[in-house]
């Protein structure tokens, strides 16, 4: 008769269900939602595309610009791209991914200009005299290192 006692307890305690429609509240900071890329800080290294098991992320380069494409429909929310991203520009949203009705509706495309890596300022004057003839032969665009003002990306 245990089951009858259990049924009676259930009737007394009342339902435990959410009243639908229920809005899910993500209370954890480590919730795995959609991937968000910070366009200001992304360097286009392509490591996220390299480790993605589904190829949901693609990085293609054309000259000065590169394109970072992310398809949430393919994403499995494993977080490998986050782990491998060296500049830590990728992050995950803390909410459920949205529903969609047509394929490819949620694809995110970011076009970014290629950022040059910054040389550390060792000795600008002497370095400029020594390296100037050599600098012109390099494939790098010909700006003197001292003129490089972009912040170093780690």
């Amino acid at each position: 008769m245990n089951i009858l006692r259990l049924i009676f307890q259930n009737l007394c305690r009342g339902p435990v269900s959410f009243r639908l429609p229920h809005k899910h509240e993500c209370t954890s900071k480590e919730y795995r939602g959609l991937i968000v890329n910070d366009a200001e800080r992304c360097v286009g290294c392509g490591l996220c595309a390299y480790v993605c098991p589904i190829a949901a992320i693609e990085v293609t380069r054309s000259g000065e610009t590169y394109r970072w494409t992310y398809d949430p429909g393919k994403c499995t929310f494993c977080g490998r791209c986050l782990e491998r991203c060296k500049p830590h520009t990728l992050s995950m949203e803390s909410q459920l991914p949205p529903l969609y009705s047509t394929e490819g509706e949620l694809i995110k495309v970011l076009d970014m200009v290629r950022k040059r890596p910054v040389r550390p300022a060792v000795a600008p004057a002497s370095a400029a005299e020594k390296h100037e003839p050599a600098a012109s032969t390099q494939a790098m665009p010909s700006t003197p290192p001292a003129a490089c003002a972009e912040p170093a990306v780690e």
């Binding site: 009858l4 049924i7 259930n10 339902p15 435990v16 009243r19």
Partner: protein, 303 residues
Amino acid sequence: MNVSGLIHFFLFPGLLFAVPAGWFYVWGERKAVARMQRRIGPPLLQPFYDFVKLLGKRTPSRHGIEADLLRLWPALSVLSMIGAIAMLPVFPSGRGFSGDAVLLVALLELPSICFILAGFTSGSIYGEIGAIREAVLSVANNLVFLLSIVTIAVTERTFRLSDMAGGSWNPGHWIGVFGILLCIPAKLRLNPFSTSSAEQEIYSGPLTEYAGAALAMWELAHGLEWVALTGFVATLVVPASGPWWFHALFFVVASFAQVMLLSTIAAATARFTLQRAIRFYWRWAAVLAVLVVCSTIYMRYRW
């Protein structure tokens, strides 16, 4: 065709009462089972929404005699159930449509037969398996059902429904009522005797190939089965004296109380296998058979 007969067929307890009551009892069972499982359960009008939605489905067209037969079985179930409900002696003081218990039993049996035939006619393997299970279970539980009715008839010395109705203080009468209550879960395909419509095992059993309006009729027939069977037991336990509105009220209240009791049993048990279900019924059938024989001999001795 007298007026009161027409009123009984169309108004109370016939068509106009039975269809909403059927939906209400089906909702009651689903809601009660949900609450016992700490869920919320469907809204009140849910069986009505299901019925109307099924009427609006576009079904595949079938050809030949099979198509007509497949449409016939649910229609026959619904009509026989309405007839059975109209025959119930809700007012035992004789104002009602008085009928014969044998006819009532025949009408109550028809949906089960139609269910079995629908399973075989549909041509699907799941239909056949479900129909076989229902047939075997129905043989087993009909024995208990018929013996219970015979017990009541023997103790009341009559087969007329209006004389059988009304709870007398005879122990044979109450044993018969208990026997009928035992058979109702199998007739309604509730747990623990729901093996013929075991969704996880045989898809939908005999109703697998049904869609649209025909399926809506099957669901309606199921609701009407609830009303007929619980109403039959209610008419057997109602106190014989009292005004007509008391009898009508008692009919509804007693039926709903049985719905709650059957829902509790359904929520508390799991599904029996066919073997176990048959063994259950044959054991109780043996007990009831002995009781019926004893009461018959006792009555012959007393006369």
